[in-house]
Amino acid sequence: MSFPYVGFEDYISFLCGINGSDQVVFNYTGFRCPANNTTVSGFDLNLPSITVSTLSGMQIFRRSMRNIAGNETYNVGWSPPYGVSMKVSPTQFSIAMGETQVLSVTLTVTKNSSSSSFGRIGLFGNTGHIVNIPVTVITKIASS
């Protein structure tokens, strides 16, 4: 028997992925990061949202989604945060019950700014499901 699950380990890996966090993680949890090569990049923690405190140049984000409904075809739409260009792929996919689909989101700075801007990704299924993902970028630094 197996089933997807989220837990303690994902959050520990996320915390271990923050530079210089080893000692703090150990103090609070007793878990030693270096002994376990399990760090994940903060960009890849699989939350149904994307938030970037500082976007420098370009960054790719990946999200994994599992279909718990029946077979469905989704169209993907999006609106980029101000000062950021955004590409999401795939733009359409068909997914069977229980299957997993990875969504790849590329954010590229087009305008330097230090004020928050907000965008959104919407997935629209042909049997009526709508999945919304807010996208937030605070500081934007265009690559030279």
Binding site: Y5, V6, P48, N132
Partner: protein, 113 residues
């Protein structure tokens, strides 16, 4: 009308309990995913969700809410019970007898629980 975080929290907790009842196998983050991805982006009159800028005279200081104010939006119990897609955090869990292990991208099994 009563409003604010203190009113919202028990309502959302109640919806989370409904989801858990429908999908007992859901982890906390799977339930959170169902609540978030299906949330409404407009209020019940079809207008934008508003946030208050100051604690005193809140009605005089309203502005259009951003995700920093409203998160994913207003909870929608009906939609949250049928979210379609969910975002799981772990890659897999194998239950082998009495041992549970979590696997990551590289399919190494770690953290016996």
């Amino acid at each position: 009308m009563m409003s604010g975080t203190s009113m919202a929290a028990p309502h959302v907790a109640g919806v989370a309990a409904l989801i858990k009842q429908s999908y007992p196998q859901f982890a906390p983050s799977t339930i959170a995913s169902a609540l978030s991805t299906t949330a409404l982006l407009n209020d019940n009159k079809g207008g934008p969700i508003m946030a208050q800028r100051t604690y005193s005279n809140p009605d005089q200081s309203l502005y259009t809410a951003t995700p920093f104010d409203m998160g994913s939006g207003f909870v929608n119990a009906t939609a949250a019970l049928d979210p379609g897609l969910v975002f799981d955090t772990s890659k897999c869990v194998l239950i082998l007898g009495h041992t549970t292990q979590v696997c990551f991208f590289n399919s190494k099994c770690l953290f016996p629980m």
